[in-house]
Structure formats: C-alpha cells, structure tokens
C-alpha cells in the first residue's frame, strides 16, 4: 500500500454514506466523497464531472457509463450486494415471504411503502420480487411510492404505513422498524453496488479502488449489513 496516496474524488450513491464514510476514514489518503442519487451521479459523470471513482447503487446506470466508454476498462467490480426485506413496526411478528403470503390482509386498509417502482432501484427490485411471487396484483393499487428507499422506511417508521419494502441495511438501522421477512434472493434480480474508476482518471482512483476491495473495507461494509460480493 502506498504511504501517501493521491487525493481521490469518489461519486457514491447516497445510500452508501454511512458505510463509505467509515471506510474512507480508514484510508490513508485524502478522499472526497460526493453522495447523490445514482442517476444524478451517472449523468454528472457523463457530463465530465471531476470524479475519479464512481460507486453506484444500480447496475443499469453503470452499464450506461460503461457503454459510453466512461469507465476505465477492467476496473468495474460489483462490490456489494443487498437484500430486500419486508419492513414493519418494531416488534411485529416475523413472516415467511413466499407466494402464500397474504400481503393484502397484512396491510389492512393501510398501504405498502416502496421506492418508485419504475425508477428507483429498490422499487424496481421490490416490484420484480412481488411479481415473481405473485403478490403484486394484490397490492398494486395499495403501494405508496416515494422517491427513495429511505423515505419508504420513514413511512413505516412513523406508522404512516404498516409495511414497506426496503433494503435490509436500512431496516437494520432503524429502531422503530423490524425486518419481518427477507425476500428470497431468487425473486428478484441480484442487488448489486458496482464500483469503477472513471476513464482517464484510473491513476488517481486505483489506490482507493484497491483499498475498497481490501479486507479492512470488507469488514466495515459487512458490519453495515451489506453482503460483500466476490468473496
């Protein structure tokens, strides 16, 4: 590991903030972390943003960047994974998530909080999962979509809705919320957090990328509830 690394600018999905802040704190060099939504970050990279490393919550946008030739070849790694859970108020009874689940009954006259099902990854995955389990039709008109998964969690946390579909990492951190059940991994496309160096800036990003995939970082990510891929 180099003694003093070059300063590095990382554009990272906002949902990674807590974990990535911790990871960067252990990095022996200057790291600037810019957190925003994946789509914003990708567009900014498309427009020539001064990012050395991009770390997204969404493989689609990374695919776009890759297709545009904006990421350094061979640097892309799907570093983290996550799970979808059905979140409910703390203390509620756990359920088995499968085709037999009577989600409609569980909701009563309440709604199911999700991120935007057409636009935001957590929502897209959630809808896919519910569809593959045959549950979507029952709740399609009962979904309250919000612009990000944290807002969905907030709805559950505040009791505004009885249930929400969120990431495991989110449910873990909120004391008012429990994960009532985990969606089977097979029910939706794998949830990946790809990271890559930006084309033309791989020198600045290489060291940090290496650090991200190193053991120290892995431990921290795991502690925040992420599945660290590529083990």
């Amino acid at each position: 590991r180099p003694v003093v690394a070059e300063p590095v600018t990382v554009f990272a999905a906002a949902s990674l903030k807590t974990a990535l802040d911790d990871v960067a704190a252990g990095y022996d060099g200057e790291v600037t972390l810019s957190y925003a939504g994946s789509s914003m970050l990708a567009r900014q990279v498309q427009q020539g943003a001064p990012a050395d490393v991009v770390f997204l919550a969404n493989t689609d946008w990374m695919d776009v960047l890759e297709a545009d030739g904006l990421i350094a070849s061979g640097t892309r790694v799907d570093l983290l994974g996550n799970r979808l859970v059905l979140a409910g108020p703390a203390g509620a009874a756990p359920v088995e998530i499968g085709p037999q689940l009577d989600l409609g009954a569980m909701l009563g006259d309440g709604r199911l909080a999700m991120a935007l099902v057409q636009a935001v990854p957590a929502g897209i995955y959630g809808k896919a999962a519910l569809e593959s389990l045959g549950l979507w039709a029952a709740v399609e008109h009962r979904v309250a979509q919000v612009d990000n998964v944290r807002a969905a969690l907030a709805l559950v946390s505040l009791g505004q809705v009885p249930l929400g579909v969120v990431y495991a990492t989110d449910a873990l951190a909120d004391p008012h919320v429990d994960a009532l059940g985990v969606f089977p991994q097979s029910s939706h496309p794998p949830i990946r957090y790809p990271v890559a160096a930006v084309a033309g800036r791989e020198d600045a990003g290489a060291a940090f990328l290496a650090f991200l995939t190193g053991p120290e970082a892995r431990t921290i990510f795991a502690a925040h509830g992420f599945a660290v891929l590529g083990d």
Binding site: A119, V146, A151, L158
Partner: protein
C-alpha cells in the same frame, strides 16, 4: 400515438387540481398573515415571519418530513385530525397541503409588499366616511392590493406546479391520488433513457403554467388599468 398516456393525463389533471386548491386555500391565510405582518405590531411577530419563511429555507424533503411528523396518525395533530375523519396521508389533499405550504412564503411576501405600499391616508379617508376596519379592508385595502394578491397567487400556483420534494415525502406518489407532474418527471429522470418522456411532461407543465401566468398578467393589467385611470 397518444401524446400523453392516460396515467400522465391523470398526473396533469391532478397537478392542476392540487395547485389550484393549494393556492385558493392558502389565499385567505396568506392575506391575513401578510396584513398582520405589514400593519400590526404584536409580540412574536418576528417568529411568525420566520415560520412563514421556513419552507423556503428548509430543503423540501425536510419540510415533507416535518409534515409527516406532524400529520402522521401517531402525532397529536394527525391523530386529532384523524379522529375528525380528516386525513391528508396519501391523499391529494395532502399534496395540496404540501404545495400550499411551500408556496406560502412567496404568497405572503408579495401580498405584504403590496399592503405596505397602500397609502394609509386612503384608509383613513374611508374610516372618516364611516367604514369600520373590516370594511376599510374590504373596500379600500383589498382592491388596491389586488395586483399583489394576484402576483402572490401566481407565484404560489407556479411553485405548486413545480413542487416535488415535500409532496412526495409527505404523501408519496400514488397514481391518480398524489402522483403530480413533477413526481412523474422525476421518475422518468431516474432511469436511463427516460429523458424524452420527462421532456414531454416538462413541456406540458411549462405550457400549463405559462397559460396561468398569461391569465394572471392579463387580469393584473385590467386591474391596474382600472386603478390607474390616467
């Protein structure tokens, strides 16, 4: 090819409805607060003034979050309203509430400026002719501040048409209920290749808001012509 999908039409209609009601309902409150800030002295005036500006200062998401906190069924206010059968959650009225609150500072400022510009000598003249305070307001102050009321309303309306962060946080995005144009636009912008669809909706929003603007300018000119005379 349909230019807008039925769901999108629904979003247009809903945006209009939300903006209209947000503006209309905010109007009397805005006028009252503007009048109080312009003309009265009372303890805590600066606090009221600050509160009115708050939605402008806070990131919209925070405003939406605070609204959630206040109006959620677990909160006292929300619980009380629910016991009365009033619920904003996931309902277009909640979207209107959020839009109204976000536009409130703009509305109040415009009205307040106009009220401050009214010559108190004219109000005095009305009083000497027997008009009580409320009549003075209705027959002299109000007609003279109409341009400001209009300007404030159009600002609030435009703001309501564009409001997104607070609305989606507070009432989420339920097609036909709370999916306004900006939510729909936002959704398109999140996915690769959604720009074209977003652009279509942006154009619709712009056209609608411009029509409202032109209408307000026209009304405003008529009002001004009436007052100006020479």
């Amino acid at each position: 090819m349909e230019w807008l999908s039925p769901a999108e039409w629904e979003a247009v209609r809903l945006s209009l409805r939300v903006s209209f009601w947000a503006t209309l309902v905010a109007l009397p409150f805005g006028l009252f607060v503007a009048y109080a800030l312009a003309r009265w002295r009372f303890p805590g005036k600066q606090v009221v003034n600050g509160l009115v500006h708050l939605p402008l200062i806070l990131p919209p998401v925070v405003t939406g979050y605070l609204l959630l906190l206040v109006f959620s069924p677990r909160a006292p206010v929300g619980g009380f309203l629910q016991s009365l059968g009033i619920s904003f959650a996931f309902h277009w009225t909640g979207a209107a509430l959020a839009a109204g609150i976000m536009g409130f500072p703009l509305m109040v400022r415009a009205m307040r400026l106009s009220i401050e510009a009214v010559d108190p000598k004219l109000e005095q003249a009305a009083a000497t002719l027997g008009a009580s305070r409320i009549w003075v307001f209705a027959t002299v102050t109000l007609p003279m501040v109409l341009p400001g009321v209009l300007a404030g309303s159009i600002l609030a309306f435009a703001k309501a048409m564009g409001e997104f962060g607070a609305t989606i946080t507070f009432v989420s995005n339920i097609p036909g209920q709370t999916q306004t144009l900006p939510s729909a636009i936002y959704a398109f912008l999140q996915v690769p290749g959604g720009e074209a669809s977003a652009l279509r909706l942006v154009l619709v929003a712009v056209v609608v808001a411009m029509l409202a603007l032109l209408l307000s300018e026209w009304v405003s000119r008529r009002v001004a012509a009436r007052v100006g005379g020479a």
